[in-house]
C-alpha cells in the first residue's frame, strides 16, 4: 500500500497539475529532478516561473524539512534554496499528500565542473563552502548531510551551493540524516552530535569523494587510511594539512579552518602567478637567440644541399 503511494509520487508524468488545498496555487510538472528517502523533487512551472517542488507521503518528515527551510530564511544571505510555498495536494481519488515549493537552483555537478575547468577551482569552492558553513554555524545550525550529491555549481560566476537541507540539525542534538561515507561516526572518528567539527569532517570527505568516484570502505586504523587517501591526491596537496586537521577533529569551529585555508589559498595564487610570469619572461629573453640559431641552421642546410647538386 505504502509502496504504491511511493511509486505514484515518484512517477508523476510531465503535465500533471498540482493544486494546493490551502493556498490554491497551481504547479505544472515539467520533469523529475530526483528522489530521496523523504520524497521526490520535480521541476515545475508556476505561472511562468521555474520552481522545484518536493512531494511526499511522509507528511511529518516533510514538515521537519519545511521547519529547517523556514529557519534558514531568517539567516542573512541565501543559505540553501528559498522556500516559496507549503501545501497539501488532494488527488482525484481523495488521497492527501504534502508538498513544498522552493527556488530552483540551476547548475552543474561539482565533479563535472572540476573536470571541465581544472582543479584550481578547488580552493575557491572550499572557501565558498566554508563561508556558508560559518554563517550557518553562527546561526546555531549544523548541515549534517553534507555530500557531493547535495552540492551544485551555479555558473556565471561559478558559485558552489547546497540544494538539500534535509539533514540540517540544531547544534547539540543528534544528526538527523547522514550518509555513511561522509559520517565521522562510521569512520569511528567521533560522535553523531551536531557540532561544527561534524560538518568539517564531511567537507573533507566531499573533496576526497571528488577524486575517488568509487567510494572506499573502512579498514583497520581508519584515520591512517584517510590520511593516506588524502596524500595520494595530487590536486589536494596544498590543502593536505588542513584537511587532515579537519578529519581528526582538530578544528572546533569552521572559522578556524576558513582562516587557515584563506592563508593557503592567497599564498598559493601569489607564488604560482609570480612563477608563471617569470617563466614567460624567460621565454621572451630566449626568443631572439632561438630564432637566430634556427635561421643560421637553415641557411647552412641550404648551402649543404646546394653543394650536393653542384
Amino acid at each position: 500500500m505504502k509502496q504504491k503511494a511511493m511509486n505514484l509520487l515518484s512517477n508523476l508524468p510531465p503535465g500533471t497539475v498540482i493544486t494546493g488545498k490551502w493556498h490554491h496555487k497551481t504547479y505544472r510538472i515539467k520533469k523529475k529532478l530526483g528522489s530521496g528517502a523523504v520524497g521526490s523533487v520535480y521541476l515545475c512551472d508556476a505561472a511562468g516561473q521555474e520552481v522545484a517542488l518536493k512531494i511526499s507521503d511522509k507528511s511529518a518528515s516533510l514538515t521537519v524539512e519545511v521547519n529547517v527551510l523556514t529557519s534558514l530564511k531568517q539567516v542573512q544571505g541565501s543559505l540553501g534554496p528559498y522556500l516559496l510555498d507549503v501545501d497539501d495536494w488532494v488527488t482525484r481519488n481523495g488521497k492527501v499528500y504534502s508538498f513544498y515549493v522552493m527556488e530552483y537552483v540551476r547548475g552543474i555537478p561539482l565533479r563535472t565542473f572540476i573536470k571541465q575547468h581544472g582543479s584550481s577551482w578547488i580552493g575557491v569552492f572550499m572557501l565558498q563552502l566554508l563561508d556558508d558553513l560559518t554563517r550557518l554555524h553562527q546561526s546555531g545550525w549544523i548541515f549534517g548531510d553534507l555530500k557531493l550529491d547535495n552540492l551544485i555549481v551555479m555558473t556565471n560566476p561559478p558559485r558552489l551551493r547546497w540544494v538539500d537541507v534535509g539533514g540540517t540539525t540544531q547544534k547539540g542534538r543528534a544528526i538527523k540524516e547522514y550518509t555513511e561515507f561522509y559520517d565521522r561516526g562510521y569512520w569511528q572518528l567521533g560522535t553523531r552530535r551536531a557540532e561544527e567539527s561534524y560538518d568539517l569532517f564531511a567537507l573533507t570527505m566531499v573533496f576526497l569523494h571528488l577524486f575517488y568516484p568509487n567510494e572506499f570502505e573502512r579498514r583497520e586504523q581508519p584515520l591512517q587510511q584517510l590520511y593516506r587517501r588524502i596524500d595520494q591526491v595530487k590536486a589536494l596537496a596544498p590543502y593536505r594539512k588542513i584537511l587532515k586537521k579537519a578529519i581528526s577533529g582538530k578544528y572546533q569551529t569552521s572559522t578556524e579552518m576558513r582562516r587557515e585555508l584563506f592563508h593557503i589559498v592567497s599564498q598559493n595564487t601569489r607564488t604560482s602567478r609570480s612563477r608563471r610570469s617569470r617563466k614567460k619572461q624567460d621565454n621572451l629573453r630566449h626568443a631572439p637567440f632561438v630564432i637566430e640559431t634556427l635561421g643560421i641552421t637553415i641557411i647552412a642546410l641550404g648551402y649543404y644541399l646546394l653543394s650536393l647538386f653542384l
Binding site: 507528511s59 514538515t63 497539501d88 543528534a174 560522535t191 553523531r192
Partner: protein, 244 residues
C-alpha cells in the same frame, strides 16, 4: 511537556520462527504494555527481497506497533539506527496525535491542520525524540544460519549506540540472544548506558537450528516488566516516571 521513557525491543533475525507461540501475538502483548517491537530481517547476498521466511518480519512489527525493514547485511548498520529512530518518532507522534484528538476533537489528524501550524507540532515531536530517555532491548537470532552475519550485527549495534548516545536524552541498552546454549533465550549484556563492553561479550558462536522467536519475545517482555517492577519497588513513593 515532561519527558518520558520510550521502550523498544529490537529483533534481528534472518528467518522464520519454528518453535513456540506465534511471535506476532507476543508482539501484540508487548505493544499493549507500551513496548514497541521493531524487526530487522537480514538477507543473504544472493537472496531476493521477497524471500519466504521473512514475511513474518513485517507481521511481528505491525502487531508490535513498530517498524520493520528487510536488508542485505552490508546496509545493516544504517538500517538499525534508522529503524530505531523512526520507531521513536512514530511512538511520540502517536502520543501527540492522541493529545491532539483530545484538544481538536475526534478524527482530527495532522493533515487537518494548516501547514504552518503543523510545523510547530513537529517541533514538539522532534524535541521529545531528542530529549526522551530510551530503553532498547536487542534480541539477536543466533541460530546456525546467522553465523557469518554476527560480526556485522555487532558492528551495527556499536553504530546504533554512537547514534543514540549523541542525543540529549539518556539511553539504556541490553542484549539477549536466542537460542541460547541451554535455554531458548540467554542474556548477553545487562542494562548499560552504552555498548562499550560489547566487544568482549558478543557471541561469536551460533547454536542449533531452532529459532524460538515467540518465546524469546516473551522473555524480552518479561525482562522489561521485571526491570520496571524493581524500579517501582526502589522508588515506591516517587512515581514521577511518565511513559508514552
Amino acid at each position: 511537556m515532561r519527558k518520558g521513557t520510550l521502550r523498544q525491543i529490537l529483533l534481528i533475525t534472518d528467518g522464520c520462527s519454528n518453535k513456540g507461540e506465534d511471535p506476532a501475538s507476543v508482539a501484540a502483548l508487548c505493544y499493549e504494555q507500551g513496548i514497541t517491537v521493531n524487526v530487522i530481517g537480514i538477507l543473504d547476498d544472493n537472496q531476493s527481497e521477497d524471500v519466504e521466511g521473512l514475511q513474518e518480519v513485517e507481521a511481528i512489527a505491525r502487531s508490535g506497533g513498530g517498524v520493520s525493514q528487510i536488508v542485505y547485511s552490508k546496509d545493516l548498520a544504517q538500517t538499525v539506527q534508522m529503524v530505531t529512530r523512526q520507531a521513536m518518532t512514530q511512538t511520540i507522534q502517536g502520543f501527540v496525535h492522541q493529545e491532539l484528538k483530545e484538544i481538536l476533537g475526534r478524527d482530527q489528524g495532522l493533515e487537518d491542520i494548516e501547514p504552518e501550524k503543523r510545523g510547530e507540532i513537529m517541533e514538539v515531536v522532534e524535541d521529545l525524540g531528542e530529549k526522551s530517555d530510551l530503553e532498547v532491548l536487542v534480541l539477536v537470532d543466533t541460530s546456525a544460519s546467522m553465523h557469518d552475519k554476527l560480526p556485522t550485527v555487532k558492528d551495527s549495534l556499536i553504530d546504533l549506540s554512537i547514534s543514540l548516545t549523541s542525543r540529549i536524552g539518556d539511553n539504556r541498552f541490553s542484549i539477549y540472544r536466542f537460542p541460547g546454549k541451554r535455554n531458548d533465550t540467554e542474556k548477553v549484556l545487562d542494562w548499560s548506558p552504552d555498548f562499550s563492553e560489547i566487544q568482549s561479550v558478543f557471541p561469536k558462536l551460533t547454536s542449533g537450528g531452532i529459532t524460538p522467536t515467540g518465546p524469546a519475545l516473551r522473555e524480552a517482555m518479561y525482562q522489561f516488566s521485571k526491570k520496571n517492577l524493581l524500579r517501582s519497588f526502589y522508588h515506591e513513593t516517587e512515581s514521577d516516571e511518565s511513559s508514552f
